[in-house]
């Protein structure tokens, strides 16, 4: 057990009706660094974050955050945790300055310089009403509100959702710049794989409410391998291959993505008798899509239609 973990859960489970949104989650987030929680829509990322922050009671299981029980998070723990909500919801009737003033009164360690710096970076007028801000501007304001208290742990629920690439880049850079300076921990969920690739040290992947991966980013990337096999005619049927994530069949070609690619995997593939077999370059996004896409063999729809 990692004594340095800022977040630790044991069997954390939450049902909505008869459906588990998060199932038996055992997770440890180490202190320092950037931890990304990945998963498709509805995989349980937001539910996990809400449970971690004591905003939603788990159906069973539990956990700690900064050493506090998540079922009874005291105010002093909340003061140490910055939380950026998924939809960047704020009070629309407040101005940017009023929102800052409102937030600052709850945090004795409020750093006005950081707040001003971020809203300046996003070009926000202090007198502008929150409801008049664009999504990107609102995200910037939320980030300023979250970072200005200088929290020890920053939890961001899909901070870049709905932002254009420029705003997204700006948000991520601000976030990383301000947190890398000290030994803070960022725990964020995202769909934006390029952002994750740029900033994350560790990732956890939720697939249909279940944690399927939790490791350093590089480990994850290295675990997934794509191989292109060429055949003179139609590729033969695939045998059972350990760790197979996806196999995409097209005319004379089979593209196989596997996790934990080993000698046994390679031998199984060579047994198919390809004329050529070469590793394909794979980005994190491709790896992630293969990892979370439907398992098993696929053909291009077009090829199937033509057939």
């Amino acid at each position: 057990m990692n004594e340095q973990a800022v977040i630790r859960t044991q069997g954390l489970t939450r049902y909505f009706g008869a459906r588990p949104a998060v199932y038996e989650l055992n997770l440890e987030v180490p202190r320092g660094g950037v931890f990304a929680l990945l998963g498709r829509n509805g995989s349980g990322k937001t539910t996990t974050i809400r449970m971690l922050l004591g905003l939603l009671a788990p159906t069973r299981g539990g956990g700690t955050i900064l050493g506090y029980d998540i079922r009874a998070l005291p105010p002093e723990a909340r003061a140490r945790i910055g939380y950026l909500t998924e939809e960047h919801q704020l009070y629309g009737w407040m101005s940017v300055r009023e929102t800052g003033d409102f937030q600052s009164r709850f945090y004795p360690a409020w750093n006005e310089k950081i707040f001003r710096g971020i809203i300046g970076h996003f070009g926000l007028r202090p007198t502008a009403l929150v409801k008049s801000l664009s999504r990107g501007e609102r995200a910037g304001l939320c980030l300023a509100l979250t970072l200005a208290p200088e929290p020890e742990l920053l939890i961001l629920d899909d901070p870049a959702i709905g932002l254009d690439p420029v705003a997204r880049r700006s948000l991520i850079e601000s976030m990383v710049f301000l947190t890398r300076r000290s030994d803070r921990t960022i725990f964020f969920s995202s769909h934006q794989l390029p952002d994750v690739e740029r900033v994350a040290d560790y990732i956890a992947v939720l697939d249909h409410s279940v944690l399927r991966a939790c490791c350093p980013l590089e480990t994850f990337r290295n675990s997934i391998r794509q191989v292109r096999l060429r055949f003179p005619g139609t590729p033969p049927p695939l045998p059972k291959i350990p760790g197979l994530l996806q196999a995409v069949r097209s005319e004379g070609e089979l593209r196989v993505t596997c996790v934990h690619y080993t000698g046994a995997t390679e031998a199984a593939l060579r047994g198919l008798g390809p004329t050529e077999m070469e590793p394909a370059l794979i980005t994190l996004e491709d790896a992630f899509i293969s990892y979370l896409g439907d398992r098993g063999e696929k053909s291009f729809i077009l090829s199937e239609t033509e057939a």
Binding site: N2, Y15, A18, L55, I81, L211, E218
Partner: protein, 670 residues
């Protein structure tokens, strides 16, 4: 907390401002209603329309404000933003409640206060003012704060609208009904404070659990259960009434019998039997005594044969009647007479007639037994208001009846008696078109009929007498100079005597006194048939509530809550609610203590208890245990049947786990 308080005030001040405008307009509308008579105007603070609009406004506005304060932030992310403050949930609740109540006072209290102050200042309302008159409106205002917390709870609860979300508002309904029914002001206040305390407890506790039942402390769960029980009583009652309306029923059936005298002095025993809807009424008047009459089955024909006369109860004001305090506060004075320039009231506090100028709306003076005085109190002389009838020209003290002339501001004695034979009642006897022809005066020892001017027509001893025999019928027979008199028991004495004491009937000739008298058997009070609705209502009401209602109406209306209802209610609780509740408790793995506790609850609370139980619990999902294959609840770590834990997620062979402190593994060999 101050920051949150200010935020709440700013966020909801527009709602309060809207409420302020609406209520102010409603109050202005009360005062400036077109065609309003001075008599209505005199009842400014106790006027039915004013109290109705105050009741509705305070109730609705309170509930809407409370609900909006939660609903506006109920979007998951905004709620999370609010709750992730480094402060306790109690502080958030207190800030919201304090701000909400301040805004409620602003919107409802301010206009009401202005209205009261305006009514209090002389020259505005041509009527007496007593601070007691403020109590009904002030109570409805306070009741609005109960609705405020009920609205807050409705916004907070994690339940579906079409299910139990709105049940919290049932408490408000019960409080409103109870306020009308209470006989003393302190009872009304006690109900208000009790309901508010339970609601505040439930809302406060609900803030800590985001509106879920699970996760609340025991006292919070108890408060929430109590509230949902009250809401369930309202729902069950409404459902019971709806169901009984769907089937033909006999519960409106009743039989009523009474004696009446014909113009010739013959006595009928009339029986009205109503079966089901009112149009199925059956009427029969059987001749009992005297000649010249026959069986009559047509009501109109019967009434044309009946003698002119008057009926009155002499104990109308003497015996303590349990009446609603609110009604009493609205009846502190009564309109007496209007002249062209003045409005006169009988003011109970002073026992005097008090006049107000229509133009200046100021008091012009008062009229007592000793005559007119410029002030309200006079010299302390006071009437006892006992006169029945519509003309309101007679007032009496204990020993003298006076004819009052408002125009001349004089009082003239028309009847005097001794102190040991005090006046019990004075009644204006009116005939066709409400022509006042005679005055009936009843003293403790005798009954008198006088002309308008006070000349005695006849007098007869009041026997059998006061206080058991209080219902007096005086008949004016044909040919003129003949009279009939019936003296019957009071309702309470009728119940007690169970038909053993008779009705006394006398015939009088004006100059000879009683010429004949006879005792007739007492007729039973109205008998209601116990119909299907009683059975249905018995099935859906909690047994203790029925028992309480049965006790409280045992003397006045025993047929309202018959024993059958109580038995059915108990049987349903024992045979239906208890087994269902016990079975659910077992299925969802309640502890033994919880099982027993809920069993007691079902036994006591019956169907509403079961509804509250179903509403308050969150009923976790159940899924098959991989070990024993039986269904088990998902919120317990172990299977309740075999004790097995939950299996870890099934491995797919694609998992990637690595110690987080470790360095990344090198790329696998290719």
């Amino acid at each position: 907390m101050k920051t949150l308080l200010l935020k709440e005030l700013r966020e909801n001040v527009k709602v309060a401002a809207l409420g302020l405008v609406i209520y102010t307009l409603l109050l202005l509308g009360q005062y400036s209603r077109p065609g309003q008579s001075p008599r209505d105007l005199g009842r400014l603070l106790t006027d039915g329309d004013f109290l109705t609009s105050t009741t509705w406004f305070c109730g609705l506005f309170g509930a809407v404000l409370g609900w909006l304060q939660i609903h506006n932030e109920r979007r998951p992310d905004l709620w999370a933003f609010l709750c992730h403050r480094p402060i306790t949930r109690t502080a958030i609740f207190l800030a919201k409640a304090t701000a909400g109540l301040c805004l409620y006072v602003l919107a409802a209290g301010l206009p009401l206060l202005g209205y009261i102050v305006w009514a209090r200042l002389p020259g505005h309302v041509a009527a007496p003012f007593e601070w007691l008159m403020v109590r009904p409106a002030a109570t409805w205002f306070l009741a609005g704060s109960v609705c405020y917390f009920a609205g807050m709870l409705t916004g907070l609860r994690q339940a579906r609208w079409y299910a139990s979300r709105g049940l919290g508002l049932g408490v408000a309904v019960i409080v409103f009904v109870a306020l009308i029914e209470t006989t003393a002001f302190w009872q009304g206040l006690a109900i208000l404070f009790l309901a508010a305390a339970i609601l505040i407890t439930a809302v406060w506790s609900g803030f800590g659990s985001d509106g879920y039942y699970e996760g609340q402390p025991v006292w919070g769960k108890a408060a929430l259960t109590g509230i949902l029980l009250a809401g369930s009583v309202v729902v069950a009652t409404a459902a019971g009434r709806f169901l009984t309306n769907l089937v033909p029923r006999r519960d409106t059936s009743y039989t009523k019998s009474f004696y009446a005298m014909s113009q010739t002095g013959a006595v009928f025993r009339a029986t009205v039997k109503v079966v089901g809807p009112a149009e199925k009424m059956r009427f029969m008047a059987e001749p009992l005594l005297g000649a010249g009459i026959s069986l009559v089955t047509n009501r109109t024909e019967f009434y044309t044969q009946c003698a002119k006369g008057t009926k009155f109860d002499v104990d109308h004001d003497d015996r303590p009647h349990p009446s609603a305090w609110m009604l009493a506060d609205c009846s502190l004075f009564s309109a007496w007479h209007n002249t062209a320039d003045e409005v006169w009231y009988y003011w109970d506090r002073y026992g005097r007639l008090v006049g107000y100028d229509r133009t200046t709306r100021r008091c012009v003076g008062s009229l007592g037994p000793k005559g007119f005085a410029r002030n309200v109190e006079g010299s302390g002389d006071r009437f006892n208001l006992r006169t029945g009838g519509t003309h309101h020209l007679i007032l009496s003290t204990a020993t003298t009846a006076f004819l009052v002339d408002i125009e001349q501001r004089t009082t003239t004695p028309i009847f005097t008696t001794s102190e040991d034979d005090p006046i019990l009642a004075v009644h204006e006897v009116e005939f066709n078109n409400r022509d006042w022809e005679y005055t009936a005066v009843v003293t403790r020892k005798s009954i008198h009929v006088l002309t308008r001017e006070g000349k005695q027509v006849w007098e007869t001893p009041y026997e059998p007498g006061y206080p058991d025999y209080v219902a007096i019928d005086v008949y004016f027979l044909e040919p003129p100079g003949q009279y009939g008199l019936m003296i019957a028991l009071s309702v309470q004495e009728k119940e007690r005597a169970k038909g053993k004491l008779p009705v006394h009937v006398s015939w009088l000739a004006g100059d000879q006194g009683i010429v004949r008298s006879v005792d007739l058997p007492d007729l039973p009070a109205v008998r209601f048939d116990s119909g299907e609705s009683k059975l249905v209502m018995g099935a859906v009401m909690p047994p203790p509530l029925l028992a309480m209602m049965r006790l409280s109406t045992r003397d006045s209306a025993p047929e309202e809550f018959p024993q059958t209802m109580l038995l059915i209610s108990g049987a349903v609780a024992l045979l239906v609610c208890l087994p269902i509740g016990w079975r659910l408790g077992r299925r969802y793995r309640f502890s033994l203590a919880a099982q027993v506790g809920w069993a007691m609850f079902h036994l006591i609370c019956g169907v509403p208890g079961l509804l509250a139980f179903l509403s308050v619990q969150e009923w976790p999902a159940r899924e098959a245990c991989p070990n024993c294959k039986k269904l088990r609840v998902v919120d317990h770590a172990q299977c309740e049947h075999c004790g097995a834990g939950f299996a870890p997620p099934e491995k797919t062979g694609t998992e990637v786990f690595a110690p987080l402190g470790a360095k990344a593994e090198p790329q696998a060999a290719g």
